[in-house]
Amino acid sequence: MHAATTLRAPLRAHLAEARCELLRMAREPAFCLPVLGFPAMFYLLFAVVLNRGNPGAAGYLLASYGAFGVIGAAMFGFGVTIAVDRDRGYLRLRRTLPTPPGSLLLARMTMAMLFAAAISLLLAALAATAGGVRLAPAQWAGLALVNMAGVLPFAAIGLWIGTLVGGNAAPALLNVLYLPMAFLSGLWLPLSMLPGWLAKLAPAWPAYHLGQLALKVVGHDDGGRTWAHVAVLALATVAFFALARRRLHAGG
C-alpha cells in the first residue's frame, strides 16, 4: 500500500503538472494563434495559392513549414514562459513545492510535443487536400516523428534564451533569432534560391538540420547523412540545456 502510493504520487504530480502547462498555453492566444496559424498560413500562401499546382514544391514546403512551426512552438513555448515565470517569482515558489525534480520541464516538453503533433496534423491536412501532396503512410508518420522529436533542441535553445532576459524582452529576442534562422536554413524558401554564400552557411544553424531531416522524408533534402543531422541536433539539445540549467541555478 505504502509502496503503491510512493510510486503513484510522482506520476500523479507529473500528470497534474502537464495538464496545467497545456491549459496555460492553450488559453494563451498570443501563443496559439501564431504557433498554429503562421505555418498553416504560409503553407497556404506559398504551397497552394502562389504555387500553380507543382506537387514537388507542395511536398518540399510541407516538410520545411512543419519544421518551421515546430521550432516556433518549442522556442516560444519554453523561452517566453520561463522568462515570465522567473520575473514573477513563480519559479522561486516552485522550488519550495514538493513537485518532483524536472517536472516543470517534462510537462512543458509534453506540451510542446502536443503542439508539434497538432502542427503536423494541420499541415498534413492542408497538404493532402489543397496541396495535392501524395505520400506513403510511412512518410506521413516519418514527418510527424521528425517534428515531435525536433522539439527537443529548440526547446533547449528557447529555455536558454528565456533564462538570459526578462519576460518583456524574451519574445523580441526569440523572434530576432527565430525568423532569420528559419529563413537562412531554407525553411521558407529552398536554399537554392538564396545567394550562394548564405546557402553555404546554412549548416551552422540547428534549424537547417531539422529541416533536412524532414526534407529527407519527402525526398527533397541536400543529400547529407541522417546521423550527422541527428548528431548536430542532439549536441545542440545537450549543450543548450546545460547552459540553461547553469543560468537557472545561478539565478536563484
Binding site: 502510493t5 522550488r95 513545492l97
Partner: protein, 303 residues
C-alpha cells in the same frame, strides 16, 4: 515547553549580497505548535532568513536545518508549505487547477473543501487566477501553502493587501494549523498581527537579531511608557525635560512618551497642580519594535 527539539533551526546564519550583510549571525528556532513572528523593517533580512530555511539560498556561514536535515530536499519540501512575498501564479490557470497541481505533490493533502474553507476561497475555484483581486490572489497563495498539511509553514508578509475580514480569516486559519501541531514562521510588519498570532517574536534589524523571546519579553525590553493627561503645560517645554522622548498636544490632552516614566510624572504633578486624568501605559509591541530598531538607525546615522 522547549523540551522537544525544534523543527527548524538557523544557527549563526550569515548571508551577504555583495557588500551588504543581509543576515549576520542569526539564531532562530521554530517549534511545533508555535507561531514565531519575524519582525523588522524592509531590508532587515526577514525574507533572507525565510529563503535560507526554504533552501532557496545557501548560508555563507552558519547552518540552516529543517527536521534535522538540509533545507530544500524533496523529503523536506513534502512537509513544508510557503507563501512568499512576491510569487505570482500563472494567470490563465483556474484556482481549482492550481490547487490540484500543488496538492498532487504532497503525500496526504488536505481535501479541496478544507482548503476552500480554511483560506476563504468560496466561489473562486472556477475563476482564473489572473482575474482575481489582489486579496483573493493572496488567499489562493495561502491555500497552496497549507494544502499539503505542512508541519512547517512559512508565511512571508501574508496579509499585505488583505482587508480586515480576510486578514482575520487568515489569522483564524493559522491558529487552527498551530493547534494541529504545525510550526509557523510569520514575517510581518503589522505589529498587531504579530501580537495577535505569535507565541514568540524575533526582531531583525540590519541583518542582526536585536531581540527575541515571547511577546511580553520583547515588550519588557523597552522601558518606554506612554503618558496621557489633561494639563495646560506647553508640549514644547515638556519635550525638553530629561527622560521625555516626545511630547505632543491633542486638544486638551498632553501625550508624552517617556523613558523612564516616574521622574517625568513627578515633575508633571509638581509643575501643574491642576493636572487631571493621568494615564500611564506600558509600551506595546509597536513601541518596542520602534525603540529597538530606532537605536540602530541612530547608530548608523552617527557612523
Amino acid at each position: 515547553m522547549e523540551s522537544t527539539p525544534p523543527l527548524a533551526v538557523l544557527r549563526g546564519a550569515c548571508k551577504r549580497y555583495g557588500a551588504t550583510r543581509a543576515l549576520d549571525r542569526v539564531d532562530l528556532r521554530l517549534h511545533a505548535g508555535q507561531v514565531t513572528a519575524l519582525l523588522g523593517v524592509n531590508g532587515a533580512g526577514k525574507s533572507t532568513a525565510v529563503a535560507l530555511l526554504l533552501g532557496l539560498l545557501a548560508a555563507d556561514a552558519g547552518e540552516a536545518s529543517v527536521f534535522g536535515r538540509a533545507p530544500g530536499s524533496l523529503a523536506v519540501r513534502r512537509q513544508c508549505g510557503a507563501m512568499l512575498q512576491t510569487a505570482a501564479l500563472p494567470d490563465r490557470l483556474e484556482v481549482g487547477e492550481l490547487l490540484d497541481m500543488v496538492r498532487a505533490g504532497y503525500r496526504r493533502p488536505r481535501s479541496v473543501a478544507d482548503c476552500v474553507a480554511l483560506a476563504g476561497l468560496d466561489g473562486l475555484l472556477g475563476r482564473r487566477y489572473g482575474k482575481l483581486s489582489g486579496g483573493q490572489q493572496r488567499r489562493v497563495q495561502f491555500a497552496l501553502a497549507i494544502c499539503g498539511r505542512p508541519r512547517l509553514l512559512f508565511l512571508d508578509e501574508p496579509t499585505t493587501g488583505l482587508d480586515i475580514d480576510a486578514r482575520q480569516g487568515l489569522w483564524a486559519a493559522v491558529r487552527e494549523l498551530v493547534a494541529e501541531g504545525s510550526a509557523v514562521l510569520l514575517t510581518t510588519h503589522y505589529l498587531e498581527e504579530a501580537e495577535a498570532l505569535s507565541d514568540r517574536v524575533a526582531v531583525l534589524d540590519g541583518g542582526r537579531l536585536v531581540a527575541g523571546g515571547s511577546v511580553d519579553e520583547v515588550r519588557a525590553r523597552v522601558s518606554l511608557r506612554r503618558i496621557r493627561c489633561r494639563s495646560r503645560l506647553a508640549a514644547e517645554a515638556v519635550a525638553q525635560w530629561p527622560g521625555v522622548v516626545e511630547a505632543a498636544r491633542e486638544g486638551e490632552a498632553l501625550r508624552i512618551a517617556a523613558e523612564p516614566a516616574e521622574p517625568v510624572v513627578r515633575r508633571l504633578l509638581e509643575s501643574d497642580p491642576a493636572l487631571r486624568e493621568l494615564e500611564i501605559r506600558r509600551a506595546g509591541l509597536a513601541d518596542a519594535f520602534l525603540a529597538l530598531t530606532r537605536s540602530t538607525d541612530a547608530r548608523q546615522e552617527a557612523a
